[in-house]
């Protein structure tokens, strides 16, 4: 490792997506200190994310760059681009929501961009130190985002719960990294991978990887590290919840894909067995617990546990197109989840969030367009054809078949059926009870930013469901080699 190298302009340009996410919030911070203006902060954040997206596209064809414990290649740029798009959608949704609920709105956007930066850097990390650092950038931003509405007891409580458990899981992850470091004497993936090729797996290494998987499993909220999920989903405000469900989980999945591509951890049977048990348990427990929920946010929390179980199937069938399937499933799940939480954020008022399923009773007769959109989202979550959820499951199943994971695929089939039941229950609810008099208040009349976001998400769900090959080609092109 030579440290005395001066950074070149070319390298600086390639790091631009990350630098923008770093510089944007810092500039905004100064501007907020001088003069507060919600609309300006909001617009500035949108421009930051748009700038990230533009630089990602501009750099996409460049050769991979290894610098300062980061790898800027097509894979990390793809994820960064996806996160930027998700960031734009969440920013669009947040404006109206914060206007309704919060008396100090501007700082939220700083945290949003910083957390997105953490997630993007996680995917770019090629070293355990940078992985841990970027994970913490994400986590620390998330603590304050979850507890952002500090007058609400629920938000503060969720923030505290997430803080204690996330810090705990980071410590476990760190302990695991220390064990791996002890055995291999290195912290960069490449060096560890090279050592592994020579020595094979020792008990310390297996223990180390088990702890790393535990720490990663917490962020992805898979069983048995899922206890925070439902409380935090419910307590945090909807734009934040959608961020936790998408960017935070996606960052960890991307980081794991890179880690296990360079370190052949999945050649060890114990690691595969652990992941298989986690995947199976997540699918079953997530779906079964979701069955009993009457709160839509908690329902989505448990369903996200199950969905991450599906992604793990693709992850276990690693080399057989599994990583690409996992990435596609993530993308499909992003679109769907953003839709679901987008609706909740859109319908929430200053009195509370639109989170009880009974709130959606007869929604079709009051707001037909919103009900139609919600139906699309629920169909996609259930994996019904012509939606992104179906295609995602199809790719996951294909990779599972190639890797001969028949037991897991059998579980996937059972769980899809369970899932259909409770997703369709929400749909049935919306079309029932024509005479319900509950008022639905949508704050702004006319076209609002949130509406643009919802339309975009709907188009993405249908696009991924009808014409997945375009995106799939892009994902295949960005595979790590």
């Amino acid at each position: 490792m030579t440290m005395n190298k001066i950074i070149t302009t070319q390298e600086l340009l390639q790091l631009m997506p990350f630098l923008l996410m770093l510089a944007g919030p810092v500039i905004l911070l100064v501007i907020i200190a001088i003069k507060r203006n919600h609309l300006f902060s909001w617009f500035f954040t949108l421009m930051t994310f748009a700038g990230v997206l533009v630089t990602v596209i501009a750099n996409f064809q460049q050769l991979p760059l290894n610098i300062a414990m980061l790898t800027v290649d097509k894979f990390s740029l793809l994820y960064t681009g996806i996160f930027a798009i998700v960031g734009i959608v969440i920013t669009l949704l947040s404006h109206n929501y914060l206007e309704k609920t919060s008396d100090h709105k501007e700082e939220f956007y700083l945290l949003l961009v910083f957390a997105t930066l953490g997630s993007s850097l996680m995917v770019a990390s090629n070293d355990f130190v940078s992985l841990f650092l970027s994970l913490e950038v994400l986590s620390v931003s998330l603590y304050s985002m979850i507890a952002y509405l500090r007058n609400q007891d629920r938000a503060i409580e969720a923030g505290l719960k997430y803080l204690v458990l996330a810090a705990m899981s980071s410590a476990v992850l760190l302990f695991g990294i220390a064990l791996v470091y002890f055995e291999t004497g290195a912290l960069s993936y490449a060096a560890i991978g090279a050592k592994l090729g020579k020595t094979g797996f020792t008990p310390y290494l297996v223990a180390g990887f088990a702890m790393i998987i535990a720490g990663a499993g917490f962020k992805m909220s898979v069983v048995p590290f899922h206890w925070w999920t439902s409380d935090v989903y419910q307590g945090a405000n909807s734009p934040v919840t959608s961020f936790i469900a998408t960017v935070s989980k996606g960052g960890m999945v991307g980081a794991m894909i890179r880690m296990f591509t360079i370190i052949p951890g999945l050649e060890n049977n114990a690691v595969v067995l652990v992941l298989t048990i986690i995947a199976a348990a997540s699918m079953f427990l997530g779906n079964i617990l979701a069955l009993q929920q009457t709160n839509l946010k908690r329902l989505l929390a448990y369903s996200s546990i199950a969905h991450l179980g599906y992604i793990l199937i693709a992850f276990i069938s690693f080399g057989n197109g599994g990583t690409q399937a996992a990435t596609f499933y993530l993308l499909a799940y992003f679109a769907t989840t953003l839709g679901a939480f987008g609706i909740i954020a859109f319908l929430s008022t200053s009195e509370g969030e639109a989170e009880n399923i009974s709130f959606y009773k007869g929604l079709y007769w009051r707001k037909p367009a919103l009900a139609a959109f919600m139906t699309l989202v629920m169909f996609s979550l259930a994996g019904i054809p012509l939606t992104s959820g179906f295609v995602g499951k199809f790719f996951v199943a294909t990779s599972g078949v190639k890797a001969d994971l028949w037991v897991l695929l059998f579980f996937l089939a059972i769980n899809s059926v369970i899932g259909v039941y409770y997703y369709l229950r929400v749909v049935v609810m919306m079309f029932s009870n024509k005479d319900n008099q509950v008022e639905t208040i949508v704050c702004r009349k006319g076209v609002s930013a949130g509406m643009i976001a919802l339309v975009f998400v709907a188009v993405m769900i249908l696009y991924l469901g009808v014409y997945p090959s375009g995106i799939m080609e892009l994902i295949q092109k960005s595979a790590i080699n």
């Binding site: 130190v129 500090r150 409580e157 803080l163 810090a167 410590a171 760190l174 220390a178 291999t184």
Partner: protein, 102 residues
């Protein structure tokens, strides 16, 4: 008796367990945060010990310095949240902060 790697590992294991015990059993939010610090520092001791006796390189030290910085950042945010809990609930007993259920 020569002080070796084992001693450091035992110390860090004890710290880790104590921290975990504190997080699980303590009701006072500040005490829970102290437990978290112990757990993080246990991992830190491991890094330093492994850098000295195992890897024989600087990377473990770098990791430890970053962890110290992050632990401080985390503590800052954590205390802010605890302050808000005090403002909203008028106590910091985390067993009684349990509105979210289901």
């Amino acid at each position: 008796m020569e002080i070796g790697l084992t001693h450091y590992l035992v110390i860090s294991a004890i710290l880790f367990s104590l921290g975990l015990y504190g997080i699980i059993t303590r009701k006072h939010a500040i005490m829970v945060l102290m437990g978290l610090e112990l757990v993080l520092n246990a991992a830190n001791i491991n890094f330093i010990a492994f850098a000295r006796y195992g890897g024989m390189n600087i990377e473990g030290h770098i990791a430890a310095i970053f962890v110290i910085i992050l632990a401080a950042a985390e503590a800052a945010i954590a205390l802010a949240i605890v302050l808000n809990i005090y403002q909203n609930f008028r106590h910091v007993n985390i067993d009684e902060v349990d509105d979210l259920k289901g």
